[in-house]
Symmetry: C2
Subunit: 397 residues, 2 copies
Amino acid sequence: MEYRISYKLKNLKPSAIREIFKSLSDPQIIAFAAGNPAAESFPSEFIEKSCADILHNNTVTALQYNITEGYPSLRNAVKERLSSAFGIGKDFDETIITSGGQQGIELACKVMCNEGDVIIAENPSFIGALNAFRSNGAKVVGVDMENDGMNIRSLEQALKNNKNAKLIYVIPTFHNPMGITTSKEKREKIYALAKKYGVLILEDNPYGELRFSGTDVPTIKSMDSDGLVIYSGSYSKVLSSGMRIGFLVAPKDVMSKIVVAKQVEDVHTNILCQMICQSFVTSDQYLPHLDKIRALYKKKSTLMLEEMDKCFPKSVKYTRPNGGLFLWCTLPNGIDLTEFVSQALKNKVAVVPGTAFNCDTEAPSDSFRLNYSTPSDEQIVKGIQILGELLKNTGAK
Amino acid sequence: MEYRISYKLKNLKPSAIREIFKSLSDPQIIAFAAGNPAAESFPSEFIEKSCADILHNNTVTALQYNITEGYPSLRNAVKERLSSAFGIGKDFDETIITSGGQQGIELACKVMCNEGDVIIAENPSFIGALNAFRSNGAKVVGVDMENDGMNIRSLEQALKNNKNAKLIYVIPTFHNPMGITTSKEKREKIYALAKKYGVLILEDNPYGELRFSGTDVPTIKSMDSDGLVIYSGSYSKVLSSGMRIGFLVAPKDVMSKIVVAKQVEDVHTNILCQMICQSFVTSDQYLPHLDKIRALYKKKSTLMLEEMDKCFPKSVKYTRPNGGLFLWCTLPNGIDLTEFVSQALKNKVAVVPGTAFNCDTEAPSDSFRLNYSTPSDEQIVKGIQILGELLKNTGAK
């Protein structure tokens, strides 16, 4: 039987990362490819206690249908934290609980884009978002990244060239895959251009709570006096990724459509986990827990960078993140990335080739992404040593 | 700010039922409008115990990312039950866990339909599915229902008239909103027409485990020797609706695209609740639990029908379901449905007007839906008495 698959899904490939994830069941593999939070970052004891309490004392609420917008006390907790820590929340804004940050990104696209409309994205960018856009028939136009964020001239050119651009998608803080942070000046310029061209910004900030060095840079959403920014966040990296709890903030006129779009996707996000999440983020353990995770990732990223400094040839360049989960390595000219990644996997070290993050799926890359939250300290040391050997074998100086 | 919302979402209204749900927080309202399982149908003690066990002994698996396809042991349990109880599962089929039955329906549409493509649906039909289709830019074409399922001649006409029809959407067992069951003969004819015109069937069966009288009718999926049927099911009505756990079975070539589409919607369904679900459906409590729910809904539907027989004028017609959650009342000519529904709400009884389920959103209706799973026995008696009085006041004989 020849199935007539929709154009938008027909050529969409599964995420390379999710596919690599399946191969990680081999315990011998050192996983620098995932984006998983460290297992030791889950507040397991709190969750166990809180969950028992909810199921015992609030059983029916935990198991029955609820409203699409999300568990009201969790929405309030999200609003309070976003306001106090990120300067987010104007009178025209509304907040919804989503099934992970991923769903918020997908819904924003669905609500704003017709098939063929354009989303302008940082290049490289988060594969999950790019594929969410493609799955809705939107076309992704990439703007090259510099060390302090998008090339602003290229962004304006992309806006001029694409009258049907509906969203500018950015991960300004601890970028995935690059680990860099967009400067305040560039954030202001991106906002000004969005305003000038009447295009909304989709600000994705799943790692915003994970700064372990440097100083805070204001969110673009905090600059949003015109109702131009849709803001996405997540509890995947600070509570539990398996729970699939995220949130989205958007101007009310956009949010009313996002609520309808979510209603027909999954009715609402699973309510038991929303309640566990609410009990955690409103407890006195939440802020100390954030400090604990930051310290953990600071330690792990420092260890990885120290080993890289020791083991990698000097011609291999890499970013030094102030937070988040990733760093980005760029090979010197002439080294075949695909061959290198494949050699690494043969030697039981998984990294993600930069091609997976390209807006143009056919474009080459000379970079790869490394994750330091998933592997153990021992794996970090051993895995970087293996990569270092392989890099030296390529002839890189 | 004038937002350029996508055409597909711009005119999509929130589900009348979800909106009515919000007003149900008024404890004085007798809710015949919802589709909630009875609170006493939740196996609370089992869930509490199982959840504690999972979080204590299998913490990291319960809280970490997992694969898009779903928790492997739950997928296996779904496959076994579908095979033994519903004759479902060919070599060419694959199963995925979804975030409620709703997501499976939405994904099937997204994978099969371009904007402007047609989905042929029973008229009336489940509003959540119709809106999921509309949210993907698909056009819904209704085929009128008879007491044993779709009018088959109208279905063939619709297939002839719509060359871009991609799916025939049916709820053949304990139909929502009508409570009727499509006959075996009509199921075979629907399958034959799908094959003749090369259009897939989306069989939605959320109430399939809830037969409390009459004899089983084979699922359309069990007749699927050609890979023409996508089958959707759910644990919302037999375990917990708040957990948002459903499943979808489809031919592998379609499923590979559904997996990609789900990956970019929510990565995977919340894993803790998948694990709780797995522990329940593989326990020796599951089948006795199904019997308990069936007995409960038999009692409730019998009570409601007995009261209707006593209190409603003879000219008001209604269906007598053999399972599921709903029955369907049709008013005699000349009675204004909107006025009746509004009077009912003023008298603290919420029902859903048939207009909410129409494929053509502008079309009138002379029917309304009643739900017997949500209200208490006392509410059923009192609510039907109130509706009976109002019906008599309309002058209906």
